[in-house]
C-alpha cells in the first residue's frame, strides 16, 4: 500500500477520484434496484453510509487482533450486524419504506463497496481515517445513486419524492422504472464521467 493515507484525503478520494460506483464499478446491484424512487434511494444510501462507516471503523479497531484466516468472515459478521441494526431501525421508524426496499436492505451486506473498503483500507489503517474512508465511500455511492434517481423517478413516474412534478401531458417513460432503465442510466453516467478523458477521475484501464 502507498504511504499512509490521511483521513481527509481518503474521504475526498472516495467522493470523486476513486468513487466506488463509477470508478471502481462497485455496488451496482442496489444502484440499479432502488433508484427508481428518490426517497428509497436516500434511505438506502443513509443505511449504507451508516453500515460502511461503522463497519470500517470496527474492522480497523479490531485489525490487530483478528486472525488472518478468518479476516473475511469477521468482516462479514461485523457488516451483517450493522445492517441488521439498520433494518430494525427501518422496520421500527419507516416501515413503509422498509417494505419497499425489501431484500435490498439485507443485500447491503454483500455490497462490494463495504467489503472492498474493509479489505483495501480499514484492515491496514487507523480507526479515524478508516471511518472517514468508509463514510466517504458511502456518501460517494449515495450521491451517484441520487443523480440516477433524480432522472429515473421524474421520467419514469412523473414524480419527485412522490410529488407529481411533470406537466399533465407527460406520458411516463415506463422503461425508466424497470430493469433496463437502470442499466442504461448507469451506463450513461459512466459514459459522461469517463468522457472527460484525461480529466476523468480514476482514468485507469478498466
Amino acid at each position: 500500500m502507498s504511504a499512509p493515507m490521511t483521513g481527509r484525503k481518503a474521504f475526498l478520494q472516495m467522493l470523486w477520484s476513486d468513487n466506488p460506483v463509477f470508478c471502481q464499478i462497485l455496488g451496482i446491484c442496489s444502484a440499479l434496484a432502488v433508484t427508481n424512487r428518490v426517497v428509497n434511494t436516500l434511505v438506502m444510501g443513509l443505511g449504507l453510509i451508516f453500515a460502511t462507516a461503522l463497519g470500517t471503523l470496527t474492522v480497523s479497531l479490531l485489525r490487530d487482533i483478528t486472525p488472518r484466516r478468518v479476516r473475511m468472515m469477521t468482516q462479514i459478521l461485523i457488516i451483517a450486524a450493522y445492517v441488521i441494526i439498520v433494518k430494525l431501525f427501518l422496520d421500527a421508524f419507516l416501515p413503509d419504506i422498509s417494505k419497499q426496499l425489501g431484500a435490498y436492505v439485507g443485500l447491503i451486506i454483500t455490497n462490494c463497496i463495504i467489503m472492498g473498503r474493509c479489505e483495501a483500507f480499514a484492515a491496514q489503517n487507523k480507526p479515524w481515517p478508516s471511518f472517514l474512508d468508509g463514510a466517504g465511500a458511502g456518501i460517494g455511492y449515495t450521491l451517484v445513486l441520487l443523480v440516477i434517481a433524480l432522472v429515473r423517478e421524474p421520467l419514469g413516474m412523473g414524480t419527485l419524492c412522490n410529488v407529481p412534478i411533470m406537466p399533465a401531458w407527460w406520458t411516463p417513460w415506463n422503461l425508466m422504472i424497470i430493469a433496463p432503465g437502470g442499466f442504461f442510466m448507469l451506463a450513461t453516467l459512466v459514459w459522461i464521467i469517463r468522457s472527460r478523458g484525461a480529466a476523468a477521475p480514476g482514468a485507469r484501464a478498466s
Binding site: 432502488v34 487482533i65 483478528t66 486472525p67 469477521t74 459478521l77 450486524a81 421500527a92
Partner: protein
C-alpha cells in the same frame, strides 16, 4: 492446534458480541415493530371501509383507537371477518394469495346490501416497486369504491381486470397497471378467490 482453537474462540466471541449487540437493539425496537405491523393491518381495514382516507395523517395510537371503536372482528387469522360496528352489513375480509413475485395480503370491504365494493387496501406484498407495487397507489385503489360485484360471469368471475384505460365500471371492470400485467392478473385471481369464499360464507349466491 492452538492456533485453530484461538481462531474458533475468536469467531465465537465475535459472534456472541455482535449477536448480542443486535439482540439488544432488537429488544428495544421489538414492540415498536410489532405495533407497526398491527397498525398496518388496522389501517388497511379502515381504509378498505373508507373510514380512513388514503392520505390520512393520523398517528398509530389514533388509528388503534379508531379501529377498536369502529370494527368488530369475527373469526381468526386469514379466515377473519371484519364487521363495521355501526353498519353490520358492511363487512371486510382478507385477500390472501400468491401474487406475481411473492405472497400478497390485503383487505377488501363490501356492502352486502348494495352489492358494491367499499374499498381495497394492501398490507403486505413483494411486487416490484414502481410497477406491481403501484397497486398501493390511490390511482389504482380508487377504482374500487362503488364498484358493483353483483353480476357473475359464467366462469364465476365478478370483477374483470382489463387493459389500462379501457375499464368500464358498469361492466364491473378494473384497469390493470401498465407494465405490471402479471401482478394485475395475479391480483385478479386472488380477489376472485377470496371474494367468492367470502360471499359463500355470507350466504350470498
Amino acid at each position: 492446534m492452538r492456533e485453530r482453537l484461538h481462531v474458533i474462540g475468536f469467531m465465537l466471541v465475535m459472534t456472541i458480541v455482535f449477536g448480542g449487540m443486535v439482540a439488544t437493539v432488537n429488544a428495544f425496537l421489538k414492540e415498536r415493530i410489532e405495533r407497526n405491523r398491527k397498525v398496518a393491518s388496522y389501517r388497511a381495514i379502515l381504509e378498505a371501509f373508507g373510514t380512513l382516507k388514503v392520505d390520512d395523517e393520523r398517528g398509530a395510537i389514533e388509528i388503534v383507537e379508531l379501529y377498536e371503536k369502529s370494527v368488530r372482528q369475527e373469526g381468526v387469522d386469514t379466515d377473519a371477518l371484519f364487521v363495521l360496528s355501526s353498519e353490520p352489513r358492511k363487512q371486510a375480509f382478507y385477500l390472501v394469495g400468491d401474487a406475481y413475485w411473492g405472497p400478497l395480503k390485503g383487505v377488501m370491504a363490501v356492502d352486502l346490501d348494495t352489492k358494491k365494493v367499499l374499498g381495497i387496501a394492501f398490507i403486505d406484498h413483494t411486487e416490484t416497486p414502481g410497477l406491481g407495487a403501484r397497486i398501493d397507489e390511490p390511482e389504482f385503489r380508487n377504482q374500487f369504491p362503488g364498484l358493483s360485484y353483483a353480476k357473475k360471469k359464467t366462469d364465476g368471475e365478478r370483477l374483470t381486470f382489463v387493459a389500462s384505460g379501457t375499464a368500464n365500471s358498469d361492466e364491473q371492470q378494473v384497469d390493470m397497471i401498465t407494465g405490471a400485467t402479471e401482478t394485475s392478473r395475479a391480483l385478479a385471481k386472488i380477489i376472485q378467490r377470496n371474494l367468492t369464499a367470502f360471499l359463500e360464507k355470507a350466504g350470498v349466491e
